[in-house]
């Protein structure tokens, strides 16, 4: 395992050009969550708008390392327009990837850029970084609309 394997080009690209990193104004029925990684202080604020079981928009803002920022960016891209059910399945796949547990055979297809994070599983200290945005997403889309939560 070397640095280049962990920091794939895709990760560095997302880090330098994060997607959807621009909180949309809160609208009625939107949900906002704020997640912190207490071991390092990295944080993400995420806003999601779910209508009839479909994620109409996910935007976020945050402070953190390349892995947490890139992973949140990839997550936001995948979650736009997905059904809640699909997004939860994606989150489960990403979690398996991070646990180094082997993912389903079509993982490349469904996780798209997310598969680039496979190398992070080799560094237990960084797994939490990669999961920060995903856990925020899971939290947000399983809440009642209109909640703002710390």
């Amino acid at each position: 395992m070397n640095l280049e394997k962990m920091y794939q080009e895709i990760i560095l690209d997302h880090y330098k050009h994060p997607q959807f990193k621009n909180l949309a104004p809160m609208v009625s029925g939107g949900v906002e969550v704020h997640h912190i990684n207490p071991t390092c202080g990295d944080e993400v604020t995420l806003r999601a708008q779910v209508v009839d079981g479909v994620i109409e928009s996910v935007t976020w803002d945050g402070l953190g390392c390349s892995i947490s920022q890139a992973s949140t960016s990839v997550m936001a891209g995948l979650a736009q327009g997905a059904t809640v059910e699909n997004a939860l399945e994606l989150t489960a796949q990403f979690l398996l990837l991070m646990q180094g547990k082997g993912v389903s055979t079509d993982a490349d297809e469904i996780l798209e850029d997310g598969i680039a994070f496979a190398g992070v599983a080799q560094y237990p200290a960084r797994v939490k970084c990669a999961l920060l945005g995903w856990m925020a997403l899971k939290d947000a889309i399983t809440r009642e609309p209109g909640e703002i939560n710390e």
């Binding site: 560095l12 202080g41 390392c65 892995i67």
Partner: protein
């Protein structure tokens, strides 16, 4: 290279772990002694010898082994006491500095605390405290209603003493602060603050986690009342820390943990307690760890605390000088004189990523908030990268650090 009177290259050979490689054959460069130090063979052997030859429950039993275990444990107490210029009966073995500080905060707010808490009372801390010297006081404040106040930190990482005459006032009951910052390397003016606090009748507590391992510390000269430090940061084993206190203060304090070994007479309804130090050492103590700590102190004394302090100053001065010539690198904390904790920021690269690149080169540093989250906020950063030095580090280690940071800048494309 300025001469220093210890040879780190030779000392290194006493530390088996420092000989290992990491991340696929890279030579280990250990720059995280501020978190925990590595252990020399002498310490490992002392612990092993205790278990192999003298292990029994100290202070109990009439057999020879129990006597030997007691002697070994009490002998360790004498070694610690003479190391910090204290009386033997003033040294309490705890599990860690964290436990020592919790003991103090709990005892001083218990029903039989020597402090009679009144509305409006204050506990004074600083903005640069480790969580271990912050949260126990937050809890004390919930129990007593005391108001926590904080000595601010300047942009240079020093305590800002501009308003010290109002911060220390007749309502101040406790002043607790760190001797040396684990983040900024700042060394605080202990005697001056202690004298000011004593003038208003406050109790003075010192977190000496980052000073006792690195320089000669004499509790009498510091003029303080209580002091906490951890064995594992000074070449000793994990699981042993120290609380030192002036005997009169300790004698006035109720116990924290209660149970066996700390009593005089017990009935079903009540108990009376031993004098310190035993009052604060409930249960079968951490004998092997105390013996290991005594061996660590022996090792430090053989090298010489002044030589250690000079050596670290040398390394940190050289590291700062080199970091300051690097574009995009900012060193936090005072220029000097300072302790060996060196925090820095690299423009455009999060500390986690700096740490990851360094790790790939076999260099172990700490990244994150260093258990001093409020201090991070004070400097408007989420985290820093921190290198800490000890007697076994060399100038070559500093050179590795510098080239590692350069590599991180190249890797993330931020080098200009």
């Amino acid at each position: 290279m300025p001469a220093s009177s210890l040879n780190a290259e030779i000392l290194k050979q006493d530390f088996p772990l420092l000989g290992r490689t990491v991340r696929g054959g890279k030579k280990l460069v250990y720059l995280d002694s501020g978190a925990t130090s590595q252990k020399p063979t002498q310490v490992l052997e002392a612990e092993r010898d205790f278990y192999e030859n003298h292990n029994a429950a100290a202070h109990r039993g009439a057999h020879q082994l129990a006597e030997e275990a007691t002697e070994a444990f009490e002998g360790a107490r004498e070694v610690v006491a003479s190391f910090i210029g204290a009386q033997t009966r003033e040294v309490i073995f705890t599990k860690s500095a964290t436990e020592s500080l919790n003991l103090v905060a709990y005892s001083l707010s218990a029903a039989e605390s020597p402090i009679q808490w009144r509305p409006g009372d204050e506990v004074l801390l600083t903005e640069m405290e480790h969580h271990a010297n912050l949260i126990p006081w937050q809890e004390l404040s919930k129990r007593t209603g005391a108001h926590l106040r904080f000595i601010p930190v300047t942009d240079d990482g020093e305590l800002d003493l501009t308003d010290i005459d109002t911060l220390i006032n007749e309502k101040t009951r406790i002043l607790s602060f760190t001797h040396a910052s684990n983040v900024l390397g700042t060394v605080n003016p202990v005697r001056r603050l202690a004298d000011l606090a004593h003038a208003v009748g406050a109790i003075v507590v010192l977190d000496a986690c980052q000073s006792v391992p690195h320089e000669a510390v004499d509790v009498t000269a510091l003029g303080i009342d209580l002091m906490a430090f951890s064995g594992h940061k000074m070449l000793g084993p994990t699981g042993v820390g120290v609380l030192w206190g002036r005997f009169e203060i300790l004698e006035s304090m109720p116990p924290f943990l209660t149970g066996g070994s700390m009593i005089e007479v017990v009935t079903l309804e009540s108990a009376t307690y031993s004098l310190p130090p035993k009052r604060f050492e409930a249960g079968v103590p951490n004998m092997a760890q105390a013996v290991g700590l005594a061996a660590a102190i022996g090792y430090l004394q053989d090298v010489g605390m002044h030589a250690i302090a000079r050596h670290e100053e040398d390394l940190v001065t050289s590291a700062i000088a080199q970091l300051e010539t690097m574009p995009g690198v900012t060193v936090l904390g005072p220029a000097g004189p300072r302790g060996g904790a060196l925090s820095f920021l690299v423009d455009g690269i999060h500390p986690h990523d700096v740490g990851q690149v360094l790790d790939d080169d076999g260099i172990a540093v700490r990244v994150g908030h260093h258990c001093a989250w409020p201090l991070m906020r004070r400097f408007g950063v989420a985290a820093t990268t921190r290198a800490t030095f000890y007697l076994y580090n060399t100038h070559e280690d500093v050179t590795s650090l510098i080239s590692g940071i350069r590599r991180a800048q190249e890797f993330f494309g931020t080098s200009s």
